[in-house]
Symmetry: C2
Subunit: 346 residues, 2 copies
């Protein structure tokens, strides 16, 4: 494998460098071909690098940035004042070819806007979408998008998301003719919002998409589809709802029976069974699939959860590494070209 | 306690009388003061009543209805052709004062439209909303609405939902000054859809609502609010996502370890721990709180899940009984009067 350089917005997210820098070191330790450019306040970043293994430090470079975009900043305003910010500098490194992808846990709206501005959308894409790959009940995976890059989506955007999701499932998950569904509030054609119904009509007529119709929220993890498409508001709420419920279950599993007086052997056995259960459900732990990919750009951008811990942010860095190795933007571009060309002829 | 008569749309839902009639008998067995009017095809209903305990049959009456509104019918069309349908006849029984509430697992849009048409909204309410009470992590409960009565909601409707939800929490859950939050995709004021931000501004200025701001999907079950308000599309997707995840966990808990070769005592112990866990999570089982209340009408209407099983539909009937005993519509009307009068003066 060849060397691979990623730019990390070290200042973004709820915790900033105290999570991003240790996570970066963790990712470097497990990927020997990785080089990371840590963008942000050099003094703060260096303080977290001080105790790091010297063998890793050879693959780290600190890139200074003067400011940080606040998580609660209004995106339009944040973008106007973004010059010199860690997020923008990290994206510029990708634009200039100095890094192959960028990872940030910062303000989603600003990241989306700046990435579009600096890296430009692919031909045929109006607005990029945030995509993640969720594990499902049948031990497979489902591509879900948009997860909040766009607050509001029209039917043309939903169709573009479907094309991008379908390409992801085919090229990255290696699923032949992946099934594509729209998230709706009923399975009947008459249900839901007008934009969804319009997108459904277009998708049903497209020979390039294996469109299977509507699915409801309860089918998110059932594996009935390979690609699930929704607008960014609904996608964000859905994903966070799922994560909230999963986290609650995992924490209840861990705490179940604690603090009660019981024979030691019962306690031990209880813990043993719980550990097995926790392991069984572990693949659903949101930390394990942190990092949503901003699809539809001429470059790779990974958005981490703002509240990501070290482990979760390290996963986001690995997602970026994977996306670069799998040439996600190039593959989507090639497929879009083909689909759009064929659609024009049709 | 005095007698209480409910109208049951026996034909509605995915399974019709083979679920609704046994569920009705189950509810009658546990509530000695309950009388049920089962509306639908008399032959089919009677066939399911044939083996029933004769002591219960004295409190059942079959009300004939010629037709059924299909689950996948377009609501507008279904309402136009609704005369004589089991859903409409059940609602008419409420309108005529022959029943105190109506329960249906049928077409949500049609139920919402017909209920509005026949029972009329309360003063100050544009459109009724579907509300449910979810158990949360802190062992309390959260009122959530709208769950899909309205596909699209403007900011005025969200404010009305907030008032109704607040009254429900105060009057039924007996929470003093219940906290009210709007579901959004970020906690900052600048986040989300324009309609939500506009509703937030109104609620923040209202002295009658203890408005605490935005919450995200992952807070659905954390107990950070007593009332969670969203539009019907998002509410429906969110609730179904949560139910899907909970059902998956419960089924994994039940099946965990099955089929593996293991010493009998390990199997027994494993089962024992799993039973305890299932019990611990049991209050989250969607079947336990089936039945959403259509709030904002001059009468009580309970919408059951279309896919409800016998146990779940019996719970929906009990919800109707509770709502009538607690005089939900009257209490909301009284509080709305007060809030609206005070708002006018303000």
């Amino acid at each position: 494998m060849t060397r691979l350089t990623l730019a990390v917005d070290a200042m973004g997210g709820d915790f900033g460098p105290c999570v991003t820098v240790p996570a970066a070191l963790q990712a470097l330790a497990s990927h020997s071909q990785l080089v990371l450019l840590l963008v942000g306040d050099p003094d703060i970043i260096s303080s977290f690098l001080a105790k790091a293994d010297s063998s890793l430090l050879g693959r780290v470079q600190v890139i200074p940035a003067e400011s940080v975009i606040a998580s609660d900043a209004r995106p339009s305003q944040a973008i106007r004042n973004s010059r010199g910010s860690s997020m923008r500098v990290a994206l510029e490194l990708v634009k200039e070819g100095k890094a192959q992808a960028c990872v940030s846990a910062g303000n989603t709206g600003a990241l989306m806007g700046l990435a579009k501005l600096l890296l430009k959308p692919l031909d045929g894409i109006d607005r990029p979408a945030l995509m993640t790959v969720l594990p499902h009940q049948q031990h497979g995976k489902t591509v879900v998008l948009d997860l909040g890059a766009n607050v509001d989506s029209d039917s043309a955007m939903l169709v573009q998301f479907a094309v991008m999701g379908s390409v992801m499932a085919e090229e990255v998950l290696e699923i032949i003719q992946p099934r594509v569904a729209l998230l709706n509030i009923g399975q009947e054609e008459t249900k839901g919002l007008e934009t969804i119904r319009a997108a459904s009509t277009v998708l049903r007529a497209s020979p390039h998409i294996n469109y299977i119709g509507y699915l409801e929220g309860n089918d998110l993890l059932t594996g009935k589809t390979d690609v699930l498409v929704c607008d960014g508001f609904v996608g964000n709420v859905t994903l966070k709802t799922m994560e909230g419920v999963v986290r609650m279950f995992l924490s209840l599993l861990r705490s179940s029976g604690e603090g009660k007086k019981r024979a030691w052997w019962l306690k031990l056995l209880g813990r043993w069974v719980q550990k097995r259960l926790a392991k069984r459900f572990g693949h659903l732990n949101p930390d394990q699939y942190n990092g949503a990919c901003l699809l539809g750009l001429r470059g790779t951008v990974i958005k981490s959860h703002g509240a990501a811990n070290q482990r979760a942010f390290a996963v986001a860095i690995e997602q970026a590494e994977q996306a670069v190795r799998r040439q996600v933007p190039e593959r989507i571009a090639a497929r879009l070209d083909a689909v759009l060309a064929r659609s024009d002829k049709a």
